[in-house]
Subunit: 211 residues, 2 copies
Amino acid sequence: MVKSDLLECPMEPPSLRERRRDAILDAAEALFLEQGYDRTSLAEIVKLSGGSLATLYDLFGNKQGLLHAIASRWGNEARCQPAGCMAMADLSNAELLRGYAHRQCDRMRSPRAVALMRMLVSESLRDRDFALQIYRDLHIPAVEELSALFAEWAAAGEAEIDDPEAAAKLLLSIVIGDSMLHTLAGLEDEWLDADQLDWRLQPFLSHFKIG
Amino acid sequence: MVKSDLLECPMEPPSLRERRRDAILDAAEALFLEQGYDRTSLAEIVKLSGGSLATLYDLFGNKQGLLHAIASRWGNEARCQPAGCMAMADLSNAELLRGYAHRQCDRMRSPRAVALMRMLVSESLRDRDFALQIYRDLHIPAVEELSALFAEWAAAGEAEIDDPEAAAKLLLSIVIGDSMLHTLAGLEDEWLDADQLDWRLQPFLSHFKIG
DNA sequence: ATCGCCATGTAATTTATATTACAGAAAAGC
DNA sequence: GCTTTTCTGTAATATAAATTACATGGCGAT
């Protein structure tokens, strides 16, 4: 029995099956994001990934299984890179927040994130679990990270934030805001540039006394 | 020739053909919004609207033509009700804006608006024109209306708003914000209640000196 | 080397749905 | 009332895609 038991982490050369699996996931993800789930056929996926339809069915059961596998891979990725954004440079809190806003904005405007959000919305009717999973991975970590930061500042008397979570959501709204609909509608990028972003942050910073 | 010439506005009893047309549009709109475009079959539409497939094709050419007809009807509706929101009651500007925000929020959370946005996003890859048209009807009027109001206030010295359009977009971002993604993801309603909304508006009001 | 497992490629099957064709029914115009 | 035009129901056609079946070939283990 060379069958890999649970938790066999130490890098082995990935088996053919595993490489196939990854290749299919890669291809499917690329095509789904580019064209949407409905309009991507399994044949197309297999043509891009190599391998065969039969293996795909063997690995994932059916088309929806493939979708779930992709979502779950996204979840793992997201959990592995905890957005380590808050480098402890010797910046003021306001500077720190500005930097964070810029990064968050960049992250949201990346073609992959845009495609992902579009897919989240498109498939939310078909498959509630899928949508929920993506939403959690995509949005909730950002809120939590920011909440924690605000709570810290408030505790240290560096800001007057009564409700850190609400403040975090407000900040994200300010940053992402109406650009999202614009982008999701497939229109040309019209995201906020650095100046606009700073301008938007001013009311927030002064209201919460973030210096 | 009793054929109706252009601009024959005065109410005539709508012909059978027109009633059929409307019925089909109603049915298609309802089903598209509920299930999405891809997953709604023309047979289903006709079953709901009455009439026959042949008439549908005669009226709209094909499925995409039907979609365009729906979009264009939305456009007309939007143009006909110019969101007459700013009743000139004897309220302070801040009160006025609060009221506007609440109404805007209600409008965005209506099932029809949600379904419409979801559809806008889903179909944006397939049909750029369709997405563009909906986006314009849905979002741009709100921005313009608000911009005009802010410009007025600024001119009258009732607020310190240097860039009315940017301010309008910021306000909409604050109001709609992250609830939108949440709702579009098909999750339970978690829109802002009146208190939260007021709380969010405070930084905005004080920053722009809106009293 | 050889046996058996598994992936592959191809093709059959099934299903769903857009689109077209057509014959009968209803309505509109005179 | 008669004729012509327009709708309706049904069914044919076409196409696309998911899913399944199967025969073949390669690769690893004994």
